[in-house]
Subunit: 241 residues, 2 copies
């Protein structure tokens, strides 16, 4: 069982249409999530919720209903609030994709997370947005950037599931990734070798080496790759001296 | 204007609920898509479609209705069919994320693409699936892997928009990426240098070099980086000989 099932809570704030609650339940179960909290839903339970939940009836059956967001999130250590891009309020903001990676890391450490979704017509209020540690936006076309609430939940749950799968795959790699210290040492070793080979244009040494550093950081090598590159550089330096 | 707007057509096959057509229109416009084709919709136009389209009324207004898939896709050069994972039929299959990268590349070259979505209750028939060049699946939890049709469209359009944004960012890089031929030459140059340095364990030379090749391919270097690495290897070889 992936920890997103256990440690991620989806919170719908004052949803008007019960059909949306059902659609959210299905979107969650499709992506392996189970914990749904409702804050003052207008109509629930309701036949439209049941109809749209499909085979996610168990998610609806286990819904928790609260009269305030504060009550719903009290056991969560990290709160994300979904928000449209054009808010004037300044807050740490992540895309759905970025948030999903972060959340996967949190729940892997058994940290409870809540993700707030606002009303169909006007989202979350500024006061509600300020209950969150971070804001989460779904990149969308500027001509019409406002997704339906169930669609927003689907995209966020999809990204969470993708991140969980990636995490699962990575945990089966046979070599762990280089730590940042090991990566720094590799870059330093490469820079020294470049200098020893007299390769850097003295007119502009900084720019190209900044680019090469950026390249190594993008590479994100594992232990096997990084150690082979270190061995390669060592052998090169032996020939120079 | 990103080419996904112009060259990607979403095709809904025999949709039963007009509300889903409206939701798809909104999901498309949210992600910058505009071309919607309907094959024998049960009810359309319909007030439910209009209600759920929100501000994507223009997408509904410009819908093309056909009586067969063949007619709808005749100007498309690449056809993707969305499919559940458990089909018995063997076909080239991509995830939504993989397909989005591929489609971004196709439409950047002005190649028309159609993506087929099946009926709410039973998807696409085997005959319809065989009209497609490739199948597209949305990774989902095995307990309940079947997404609502509008949700499937949302996820696919979201991935297309993400790929388009990424492409846009990359197109502003100051150096173009290495071509696959240039990358092959770089890898070959590295392999020769490793051999000249007598670095490869004669007991298992293949495995480590396969890993290093995989590393270079993952790196996806640009011209500036690739050329600097070639210059580096050239300088190293000069010292060896």
């Amino acid at each position: 069982m992936n920890p997103i099932n256990r440690y991620v809570q989806i919170v719908l704030v004052e949803t008007s249409h019960p059909g949306n609650i059902g659609s959210v339940a299905r979107a969650m179960k499709n992506m392996g999530l189970a914990n749904l909290a409702l804050i003052n839903p207008k109509k629930f339970p309701h036949q439209d919720a049941t109809a749209l939940a499909g085979n996610a009836q168990d998610v609806l059956d286990n819904v928790n209903i609260f009269s305030s967001i504060q009550e719903a999130i009290k056991s969560s250590k990290m709160i994300y609030a979904t928000s449209a891009r054009d808010r004037t309020i300044e807050w740490p903001t992540l895309t759905a994709n970025e948030a999903a990676s972060e959340i996967q890391e949190l729940v892997s450490n058994e940290i409870e997370v809540s993700i707030l979704f606002g009303r169909e017509d006007r989202g979350l209020t500024n006061e509600e947005l300020q209950l969150a540690n971070k804001h989460l936006i779904i990149p969308a076309h500027p001509d019409y950037p406002v997704l339906n609430i169930a669609m927003s939940t689907q995209v966020v749950c999809y990204e969470l599931y993708q991140a969980a799968q990636k995490n699962f795959v990575e945990s089966w790699q046979d070599f762990p990734e280089y730590t940042s210290e090991e990566l720094n040492n590799l870059i330093e070793h490469f820079n020294e070798t470049v200098k020893a080979l007299e390769l850097v244009d003295p007119k502009n040494p900084k720019q190209i080496m900044t680019r090469m550093e950026r390249m190594f950081r993008r590479l994100y090598p594992d232990q096997m790759e990084g150690n082979f590159l270190r061995g390669f550089l060592k052998a090169v330096n032996k020939r120079i001296k």
